[in-house]
């Protein structure tokens, strides 16, 4: 399916709500759950979820939601996750991704990390504007959400910190394709951008804490680091 058709599939408001709900969970979501969360009937949710899967925006699989297996465990239920594939459309046609990859390749070969990070930090500061450095995690989450990072508070049992330390992780890397090709360069750039965006005088800070499948930066209270 063409990108433009896939994106057009999101025009239906119910379908869009379902897509956003599944994307936000960062895990497999069943039909019942998606229907309840978005307030539509199960059959309607199922119809739209399948349309989203057909469009390649979601991936579907089947799983026994009871966690049991073998005879008597019940029929497997259909589950959905967001597709890893990227969809974009530019009218008229533009190809910034190739430009980004070529610039990154040249910067990597020339060892321009410091210059790139300085520019990224300045850009982050400019995006923040005259506002003070972020003083709490919620304000940081708002900034990150607006820039497409899909921030979420890490589950307490996921991280190493205690329940008192709220750590923000990000499901999406806005620079994913280039970051996969030039990780130290582009992830370093991303960190510098976020440092500029969050600010360095506030009570929260950005730090690199890479892990598979997520943005490599986390946001945490800077006071947590006094041991």
């Amino acid at each position: 399916m063409e990108d433009i058709d896939a994106i057009a599939a999101l025009q239906d408001p119910v379908r869009r709500r379902l897509y956003e709900y599944v994307a936000e969970q960062g895990r497999e979501v069943g039909r019942n759950e998606a229907a309840e969360a978005t307030g539509v009937a199960r059959t309607l949710a199922a119809h739209h979820l399948d349309k989203l899967a057909e469009a390649g925006l979601l991936e579907s699989g089947s799983r026994r939601l009871t966690g049991r297996s073998g005879p008597g465990a019940g029929r497997p239920a259909k589950v959905y996750t967001r597709s890893r594939a990227e969809r974009s459309i530019s009218l008229p046609a533009r190809d910034y991704r190739t430009a980004a990859e070529l610039l990154a390749e040249a910067a990597e070969e020339a060892g321009l990390d410091d210059g790139l990070c300085a520019a990224a930090r300045r850009r982050g500061e400019a995006l923040r504007g005259p506002a003070e450095s972020c003083d709490d995690v919620d304000a940081a989450m708002e900034l990150l959400a607006a820039r497409g990072y899909e921030p979420h508070i890490e589950d307490a049992d996921e991280g190493t910190g205690g329940p008192a330390s709220r750590v923000v992780r990000m499901r999406n890397c806005p620079f994913h394709a280039v970051a996969e090709r030039f990780p130290p360069l582009v992830c370093g750039m991303n960190l510098a951008l976020l440092e500029g965006l969050i600010g360095s005088d506030g009570a929260v800070r950005a730090r690199m804490d890479a892990r598979p499948g997520e943005c490599c930066v986390i946001i945490e209270a800077s006071k947590n680091n006094i041991h």
Partner: protein
């Protein structure tokens, strides 16, 4: 064993040219990261082996490629496992700050190659694969993350003394 065990594992050799001696205060932040990052490697999914000097926790004192060049060498189940550790673990922070501690390389400094499962590569073997990569570019014998080959494609190159088939 009835399951099909993988016949080949992925080996990696990496050279890093020190900007200052390891006991220089300017290298302190790198030295502090050595143990935690090595421990993360040992516990990473798909990790099989890494080079250490006898009686030492790492290979930083071995200098087979020059007095100011440290080497890392390791073996992994798959290229994906090595990639995830290299770029999606605490190791990424070391990579991000690489210019603080290491000179920029003009030539290739990282080489990947397939070895028979169970084979522990020697440093000479790694240096020879790196020389191959530098001389001939990526091939099934010696390649990089940007140009990987599968173990099947590299089937004729698994042995240390294998000669290029092309």
């Amino acid at each position: 064993m009835t399951s099909a065990a993988p016949a080949a594992h992925l080996a990696e050799l990496n050279l890093a040219k020190l900007r200052h001696p390891l006991d220089d205060p300017r290298m302190e932040s790198f030295v502090e990261l050595l143990n935690p990052v090595n421990a993360a490697a040992d516990g990473a999914p798909g990790f099989i082996w890494r080079l250490v000097e006898e009686g030492a926790p790492d290979a930083t004192a071995l200098r087979p490629a020059g007095e100011d060049v440290i080497v890392t060498m390791s073996v992994w189940e798959t290229p994906e496992a090595l990639w995830e550790f290299t770029y999606r673990s605490g190791h990424l922070e070391v990579m991000r700050r690489r210019r603080e501690w290491f000179d920029r390389h003009v030539e290739a400094y990282l080489v990947l190659w397939w070895v028979p499962a169970g084979h522990v590569p020697t440093v000479d073997e790694g240096l020879e694969r790196l020389a191959d990569l530098r001389a001939n570019g990526p091939s099934p014998r010696a390649f990089t993350f940007a140009s990987t080959y599968t173990a099947t494609e590299a089937a004729g190159t698994l042995r240390a003394d294998a000669v290029p088939t092309a």
